[in-house]
């Protein structure tokens, strides 16, 4: 049984635990500290880094440039807008030994520099090209740092014990796979819109990632069902609560199923309009999942086993 707590005069039994609408009320507390700006930052970080890695591996300058700008401009702008004291952002890099936020900042720094080294000769001309050795090292650093950007947000959330729904090692893997999926979708879209040849493995990679992400989501939810009560309550809200439409409709139906079906059709039809629709569907599902993870997070009920069992 579930009911909203904190409403005067409402019948409440010892078993009922709902969402507390203020901090003096009994119930689960909603995670409201990390808002849509963090959602946008995490989403853009994964998307841009995923796109950059795939574009670098397939020698695709437009994809590399787009991915670079999405991360360096888009993600960082969202982070700066979110921070309470953005002028002190550098302080967040001080504890890479302990904090995933710090590791993410270092990764973004390495990515910004190495990506620039790789992009300058491609965009401005060969005069900007450094030695082969330095170029190779920059490529290795760029790929490594981009991969960290793709999954570190999962560890940032995972290492925040207050929200039980994030407390699984599956989360970084899920976000890594979604970042790769977003990157491959954008890579396909940019190539199609520019009339470029698409490497044969990319559509297959896209299909494979859609299936893998579905499997990961299917594994994530049962794991949460065996987790702490706050995680189970979030799961309930996804499956039969206020987030059901967003999860089933946007994440599963639009983000995975429709994307898969449309991309299979795209393999035979090759229409620019269709590729835009595929990108819209996939990115909608991707962004919705990130926002769902953030918004539906719950803090535990302020109680202990002994307190709640006695119902005092």
């Amino acid at each position: 049984m579930s009911s909203s707590a904190g409403n005067e005069g409402e019948k409440v039994t010892t078993q009922s635990v709902g969402i507390a609408n203020h901090r003096f009320a009994f119930g689960y507390y909603r995670q409201t500290f990390w808002n849509w700006l963090i959602g946008v930052a995490f989403f853009l970080g994964g998307l841009g880094a995923g796109l950059f890695v795939l574009a670098l591996l397939t020698d695709h300058t437009a994809g590399m440039l787009a991915g670079y700008l999405i991360v360096v401009v888009g993600k960082n702008t969202a982070h700066m807008l979110f921070l309470g004291r953005p002028e002190r952002f550098w302080r967040a890099a001080m504890r890479p030994d302990r904090s995933w936020i710090a590791r993410g900042i270092w990764a973004m720094g390495f990515f910004a520099v190495s990506g620039l080294i790789l992009l300058l000769p491609r965009v401005l001309g060969p005069a900007w090209r450094l030695s082969d050795w330095l170029n190779g090292a920059a490529a290795a650093v760029a790929i490594l740092s981009a991969i960290i950007i793709m999954f570190y947000d999962g560890f940032v959330m995972n290492s925040s014990p207050g929200v039980a729904f994030w407390r699984t090692r599956l989360l970084p893997l899920l976000l890594l796979m979604y970042a790769t999926l977003g990157g491959s979708t954008l890579s396909l879209t940019i190539r199609e819109l520019r009339g470029e040849v698409t490497p044969s493995f990319l559509p297959n990679l896209e299909h494979g990632l859609l299936v893998v992400n579905f499997v990961l989501l299917a594994a994530y939810l049962p794991r949460m069902n065996r987790s702490l009560p706050a995680a189970r309550e979030t799961l309930r809200q996804w499956l039969s609560g206020p987030y059901t439409r967003a999860f089933f409709g946007l994440v599963l139906l639009v983000g995975l199923l429709a994307t898969l079906l449309l991309s299979v059709v795209q393999n035979h039809v090759h229409a620019s309009g269709l590729v835009l629709l595929i990108a819209a569907c996939e990115l909608t599902g991707d962004f919705t999942l990130m926002m769902l993870l953030l918004r539906s997070g719950l803090f535990p009920v302020q109680t202990a086993a002994a307190y709640s069992e006695r119902g005092i």
Binding site: T13, P161, G162, T303, A304, A305
Partner: protein
Amino acid sequence: MARYGMVIDLKRCIGCNACTLACKQENGTPEGVHFARVVTREVGTYPATKRTFLPVLCNHCSDAPCAEACPTGATYIRPDGIVLVDKEKCIGCRACNVACPYMNRHYVAKGMLKHGYGTDGLTPYEAIKFMDFEEGTNIKCALCAPRVDQGLEPACVITCPTDARIFGDVEDSNGKLQRLIKDRKGWTLSPEYNTKPNVFYLDE
């Protein structure tokens, strides 16, 4: 070195919120920020219902997840166990808010210090007290560290009319807190989060 903490006797608490007000007065926190508060719950089914009270404050955890999550080191644990925030180092990333399972971290949003309670401007009292805070940073219960450093007890403790709060060294094996915790089977909030809180509750 002592490890400061608190024992709260739920059998004595009457839910008067004197602790909430004493804390507000001592710290002069902005509107909507309560370092100490009383979570109220109604249990039972009509007509057999009753209202229960759970006073909460920062648990000053030995394994404080807020300190662990802080990327700048702004949140730190003093040798005596009090968890504090260095506002000069805080960047307002709110990682500590998300890390704390007890919702005892508070973010001072932009504009929050420009108005007080029920007024557009600030009262002289608020104008002085708000100088302790900085917009865009995080604040929390400091267990009245400035008072503790002077040998005084936290404001919520001295104000409690029923003596439901007992402050002291939780690691002193001969102390009152240890004795109460042992004799009356003291427990902590959400032990499954493994934060090792130093605020204990008694209900036996």
